[in-house]
Every structure is written in C-alpha cells, then in structure tokens.
C-alpha cells in the first residue's frame, strides 16, 4: 500500500486488500477489549460495575429526595439518571478521545476509521451496560411497559452516539485549553441538578422551565418518559424549537465524527 503523508493529511492509494480489512477488524476488537479492560481493570466484578452504578446512584437520590420532599417519582428518576449518565459518559469520552488517538498501537499508525469504528462499538456496549440495570429495575419493579423499555434503549443509544460526536467536535479545543474540561464538569454538574434528570419537566416552572427548553437533554429524556407512560411535557412542546435543537446537536455530532481524522493529524505536533 502506497502511503502519502503531507501537511493536510495522510492518505493511502488504492483499495484495501482483504488481508488489510481483516487486520482492521481485529484491531477494532482489540481496541474495544482494551477499553473495556481499562474500566474493569483488576476489579473482580469487572463490567458489572458499569451496570450497577446508575442503579445504585438512582437509589441514593431516590432515598435523599424521598427524605427531603416526602415523595418523588422513582420511575422518572431512574430514567433521568441512566440517560444522564449515558450523556455524561459519551460527552466526556468524545472530548477526551483525542488524548489517545493511537488506539494503543505504538509501533504503527492505524487508520482513523478503525479507531472510530472501535469507539462507536464501545459507545454501544457502554450505553447498553449503563442502561441495562435500570431497565431491569423499571421493567420488573415498576412495571414499565415493554414499549417504554425498548424506546429507552433506543433513546439512550441515540444520546450516546450524538454526544460522543459532540464531544469529538470539541476535542481539539479541549486539548488546547484543558481548563475547558473543568468548565465541562461544572456544566454537567449544573445540568444534573437543574436539568430534568432527577425530576420530570412538569415539576419545573417559570425561568427554570424556560431555560430547560434550551437544554437538548430535555427532549431526549422527556420523550423516554413519555414512552414509559410517565409525566412528560413532550406533547406540549414547541415542535419547531425541539427539532431545531436536536438538528443542531446532530449536525455538531456529525461534524465531530467527520473531522476526527483532521483533528488527530493536527494535534500530532503539539508538544
């Protein structure tokens, strides 16, 4: 394979051989396993921690809110926290991805497409693991209808893929200005408490309600609640505004996935 390296990119001439395609497939598997191993590490329960974390977090907040408010809506809280964790994991993973775009291969440059494919597979597995514990609780304990469960799986996956891409589109800026990562953490914390994570949108009013209409997460989580037959404002929202916000998110995300090769190439000379 002839490889041409210049300032704008690294590109290969000709079609990939079957052997090369097969190697790329093995590399996707390797990177995926490596990322999952990084999470499980030496822990005995390994990936089970990913499943248990949102369930335990939801139960803690359920307990705290029940004490503080006297009553709360557990189904809504479980959906909010699991989808929020998917958003948080994917956004942070996208933002930080550029710190290691070698895929762990130190002796050879591997194709960006391979790294991207591994990231997408990892996102799918991570999202599934993050939501499946909560799905079990919702289905078995709170009798949420099957259709609501299926939609929660689909919506969580959409959140995962969209916010991973949004993270990617900010990754270069994050690398250049690491302070932004702290700002992102503060923003996510604010979103956790002020956004419709622990409570549905119907529990908000006035300015709080108005601001949350600009939060893209609102539309995903409220739709999930609606499909689970819980309190939701989804039927009352301005559909044009909702579509606009979701479209902006989708475009930013596609931009991130599309530009990742260029980002990867640009940052190689940053000392």
């Amino acid at each position: 394979m002839k490889r041409i390296i210049d300032n704008s990119s690294l590109y290969e001439e000709g079609k990939l051989s079957l052997d090369e395609i097969s190697i790329d497939r093995e590399r996707v598997k390797f990177i995926l396993k490596k990322r999952l191993r990084n999470i499980s590490g030496k822990k005995r329960l390994g990936i089970l921690w990913m499943i248990m974390d949102p369930v335990v977090t939801s139960m803690i907040y359920l307990f705290v809110l029940t004490i503080l408010k006297g009553r709360t809506d557990p189904e809504s809280l479980f959906i909010g926290i699991s989808t929020y964790q998917v958003l948080q994991n994917s956004l942070k993973s996208g933002c930080m991805s550029i710190t290691d775009l070698t895929g762990g291969f130190k002796a050879e440059r591997i194709r960006t497409k391979t790294i991207l494919l591994a990231s997408l597979r990892y996102r799918f597995v991570d999202t599934l693991a993050t939501t499946c514990g909560v799905l079990g609780v919702l289905f078995l304990v709170y009798n949420i209808p099957l259709l609501g469960i299926i939609f929660l799986i689909i919506i969580s996956q959409i959140i995962g893929f969209i916010f991973e891409g949004i993270g990617l589109s900010f990754s270069l800026t994050m690398r250049r200005f690491p302070d932004l990562f702290n700002i992102l953490n503060l923003f996510l914390r604010l979103m956790f408490f002020a956004g419709p994570v622990m409570y549905p949108m119907v529990a908000t009013e006035g300015l709080h309600y108005q601001i949350n209409l600009y939060n893209p997460f609102t539309y995903f989580v409220e739709f999930a609640r609606y499909m689970a037959e819980l309190d939701s404002i989804i039927t009352a929202i301005d559909i044009e505004m909702a579509s606009l916000i979701v479209i902006i998110c989708a475009i930013t995300s596609i931009f991130g996935y599309y530009r990742v090769d260029r980002f990867r190439w640009r940052m190689t000379t940053w000392a």
């Binding site: 002839k2 490889r3 002796a107 250049r176």
Partner: protein, 237 residues
C-alpha cells in the same frame, strides 16, 4: 533507483512542533512553533539499511516518526511503499494486566498475524526473548530489560516492508544485545528497508551500508556509511 522504485521518498520535508508557553507577559499562553526538520529531501530504496546519525535534538526520532505517519509535516511530502513499523522505545502497545504470552497472542492478531500462525509466532518470540516462566507473568511486573526483549522480539517477528528503529538496541544485557543484532541482521536479510537511528557508530558501521547525518533538522551528509561516520566524528570531536 528513482522515486517510483523507492521504499521511502522524502521531498522538501519540514516539520514544526507547537509548544504552549505561558509567561508573566502572556498569562493566557501563546502557541510557539519551533522547527525540528528543515527542507529534507531523501530517497531510500528497497532493501537498503540506512543509519541515521546526529547529536541529540538533531531530528532523528522526529524523522522516523514522520516516516511512520505518526506526526504531521509542516511542509513537503513523504511517500512510503509498504507497511511501516516503528520500533521506538520497547513497547508496541502491550497491556500491563495481561501476561507476556497473552499480550503476544492478542496484539499479534491486531498486528496482522494469521490465527493459524499465531502459536508459532508466540513460540518464536518466547524463544528469542528467553524470559523463562516470566513469559506467563503479568507484563506490568516486567523490568525495562524484559519489556525491551519482548518488544524487540515482537516487532522484528512482524516482518514489515519498512522497519524504523529508534535506539532500541540499547536495551537489555550484553547477551541480549548480541542476540538482537543477529536477529536484526536476519531480519534485514529477509525483508525490506531498515532505517536505524543510533548513537552507536560500531553498530551503524556493521549493519548499514549508507548513512544520513542530521544536524539541527538539516541534512549534513548522505552517503557511504564510512564517510558519514567520519563526518560525524569530526563534528563531535
């Protein structure tokens, strides 16, 4: 041989690193470019073994990384024909929580070793690295020398078309270095192009027929290894 038959063709290559510096006068920081390679043009033909010589900071490692496609040139172009492997440091990407054997098997697949050849591939490396029972211990617990043996054994077992070596032969004990040289010679005989960045003039003389001397990112001399070593010696004396 012209550009068409070349294994590596470098045309007017310049490279700049970008450093982020924050000072009293620039509290928000400024990005300062500094040149590492300056208008290099070279052609390395298939089957050649080339020594890359120069003082620390001359740009040897940067040039190898650039040929390996790991960093972006500021100007110019590099064309490589065939698979390029860079042996820099001693680690092709081993995972600390896996044993040496598990690493070889998993990484071997990811580096393109066919499943039916994998056991043989692992046995060859086990024999070369001579780690004994440590081969089945966690890689994270290996000493630098042991890591070097495994890494060198792994990469030279891959048989790429273009092998770039960055000072790696310095790892391990005397016995291992001898073994590594024998293995490298065998590799050179069996396969394509090799470019070695080294400070060891004896090694360069023994393994290479051609030398390239760099200084401050510029090409000083490119030619017969003896001439290049003489020039380098006169520069450093």
């Amino acid at each position: 041989m012209g550009i068409d038959g070349a294994s590596v063709s470098i045309q007017d290559l310049s490279l700049e690193y970008h450093d982020f510096i924050r000072t009293k006068n620039t509290p928000w920081g400024v990005i300062t470019p500094f040149k590492s390679l300056n208008s290099l043009s070279l052609i390395i033909n298939e089957g050649e073994t080339v020594a890359l010589l120069g003082r620390n900071g001359a740009g040897k490692s940067t040039l190898l990384k650039c040929i390996g496609g790991l960093i972006r040139p500021a100007k110019g172009k590099i064309i490589t024909n065939g698979r390029v492997i860079l042996l820099a440091g001693v680690d092709p990407g081993f995972l600390p929580n896996l044993t040496g054997r598990q690493n070889i098997l998993e990484l071997g697949m990811a580096y393109g070793i066919k499943p039916k050849l994998l056991i043989e591939f692992s046995n060859t490396i086990e024999e070369f690295a001579n780690l004994g029972e440590a081969y089945d211990r966690r890689f994270g617990g290996y000493s630098t020398g042991m890591r070097g043996k495994l890494g060198f054994g792994f990469i030279t077992a891959l048989e790429p078309s273009i092998l770039l070596i960055d000072e790696t032969l310095g790892v391990g004990d005397v016995e291992f270095r001898k073994k590594a040289q024998i293995r490298l010679k065998k590799f050179i005989k069996n396969s394509g192009t090799v470019i070695i960045s080294t400070h060891s003039l004896g090694l360069a003389k023994e393994l290479c027929s051609r030398g390239i001397l760099l200084d401050k990112g510029k090409l000083v001399i490119d030619g017969d290894i003896n001439d290049v070593i003489d020039k380098y010696s006169s520069m450093t004396s």
